[in-house]
Symmetry: C2
Subunit: 255 residues, 2 copies
């Protein structure tokens, strides 16, 4: 049964953080105990939930000393969602991971220590395929790839496929990619249908039915430190993430 | 006189590639001989101009052996714009740069070799603050920071400031940042005015008057391998980049 999801795509600005944060809230609404791991030095997931970054332990500490991971989770303003905060110094830690022998297994080892306390773990990844994202790919049971319905986003899918193959093994890629979700879909545009057709060609079973519409309330919610389900529960963005959560839960149980 | 611009922001998807490609075309339209350096392993600037990536030298080669940089530039479909292609293997090269003693000076040394052949150099950076972006910050005369009028984009500006200070020196940051340009501005939204006010507080002289509207033709042009000035010369996106180019040329001459 899939419990740890890496939300990853090296293409920037495709909605990784927005998806990780709002999916965490949607899973928690359904009664799951959720851990959100902010593995991006930008720390956008941390800010999106209004959490403090200064002088508190976070993901960088878990990667440096996995055996101390039990004490890192912090409560957030969303009931049922705990957080490992994303510190700026993850940038330095990433350099050290690249040089360490066991550098890509640290996150798996850290999450092992807390697995019994949570029903689902979501890892927000930076827009790169370095040691932080590779740690997340190794630690996860499945990868969720947010993608925009635009040409430059599509181009990156082949690189994402190669990175998953490298970490999970070439034969396991289709199983490792739990789903691809279209984000920021403009109501009037035909691009989404064209991009769907292209994705179906290369990843026949991965494309999720749920898609997230472009909704300015999704971009506003982080400035209030709240998930969209709290900030604007009747919005199109909130409905998009609730639908995505239920589709993923079915896929996660089936695996 | 400023001639080399790094188009940089570690926040993903803010329009770095779209800006680098279309600004290069706009400068060339004005008669400048332009070199576009694709320093991103994603290689989106390379694809946006329809250039071939397989088995040809590119930016990775210039970083590995700066003394051979003269032979790397390739012509593109845009008259007056030459390109150093962005190869997937820039990812490995970035690791090696991080370990080399002179790792952050390689791009400066490579560009020194070709400086007399071009009037302007634009460097498209990946969404990160690693060795590739640091090479671009060191090699450039000025930094152009594209930013979306959204909260999460704003948050990254402080990290960008810190990175520029580290590479250019704390006292030189305001001079090093040639300009901040708002991209993907939605016509009806008030967010742009709010974000402008916030940027003016921290970077009083940096915000450019020109801003780039959200225009689907900008997202389509790369799938045809053409700059928007060729693909849709009468579009709002094309007008935005022509206006940006003339404002930057004035700033570049004044420095
Ligand atoms: N469905 C949506 N509708 C409107 N705005 C959105 C939507 N999803 C994300 N955004 C906004 O678009 C921007 C990019 O999204 P986000 O930061 O989540 O992407 P990301 O992939 O995490 O970026 P990065 O690559 O920098 O980590 C943010 O300002 C966010 O608020
Ligand atoms: N003004 C605009 N209007 C509409 N779409 C745009 C505009 N600028 C960029 N885009 C589209 O938005 C997406 C992100 O832009 P782009 O890839 O240039 O950003 P980037 O900062 O280079 O991303 P990365 O961080 O991955 O390098 C692309 O699909 C691009 O085509
Ligand atoms: Mg993010
Ligand atoms: Mg880019």
């Amino acid at each position: 049964e899939i419990r740890t999801l890496a939300v990853a795509n090296q293409k920037g600005g495709v909605g990784k953080t927005t998806t990780a944060v709002n999916l965490a809230a949607a899973f928690a609404l359904g009664g799951q105990r959720v851990l959100l791991v902010d593995a991006d030095p930008q720390g956008n997931a941390t800010t999106s939930l209004g959490a403090d970054k200064l002088d508190v332990p976070g993901t960088a500490d878990a990667l440096e000393s996995p055996e101390g991971a039990e004490t890192i989770a912090r409560a957030t303003g969303v009931a049922g969602v705990s957080l490992w905060i994303g510190q700026y110094r993850l940038r330095e830690v990433e350099g050290a991971l690249g040089r360490a022998r066991d550098g890509e297994e640290r996150l798996s080892r850290a999450l092992e220590r807390v697995r019994d306390r949570f029903d689902a773990v979501l890892i927000d990844c930076p827009p790169a395929l370095g040691a932080l994202t590779r740690n997340a790919l190794r630690a996860c049971d499945g990868v969720l790839v947010p993608i925009q319905a635009e040409f430059l986003s599509l181009e990156g899918l082949a690189q994402m496929h190669a990175a998953v193959a490298q970490v999970k093994g070439a034969g396991a890629v289709h199983q490792a990619i739990l789903g691809i979700v279209l984000t920021m879909v403009e109501r009037a545009s035909t691009a989404a249908a064209e991009v769907r057709a292209q994705i179906d060609e290369h990843f026949p079973t991965a494309l999720l039915g749920a898609q997230i519409p472009r909704d300015p309330l999704l971009a506003e919610a982080p400035s209030h430190g709240r998930a969209v389900l709290d900030y604007a529960p009747d919005s199109r963005g909130a409905y998009g993430y609730l639908t995505l959560a239920s589709e993923l839960l079915v896929r996660m149980q089936l695996s």
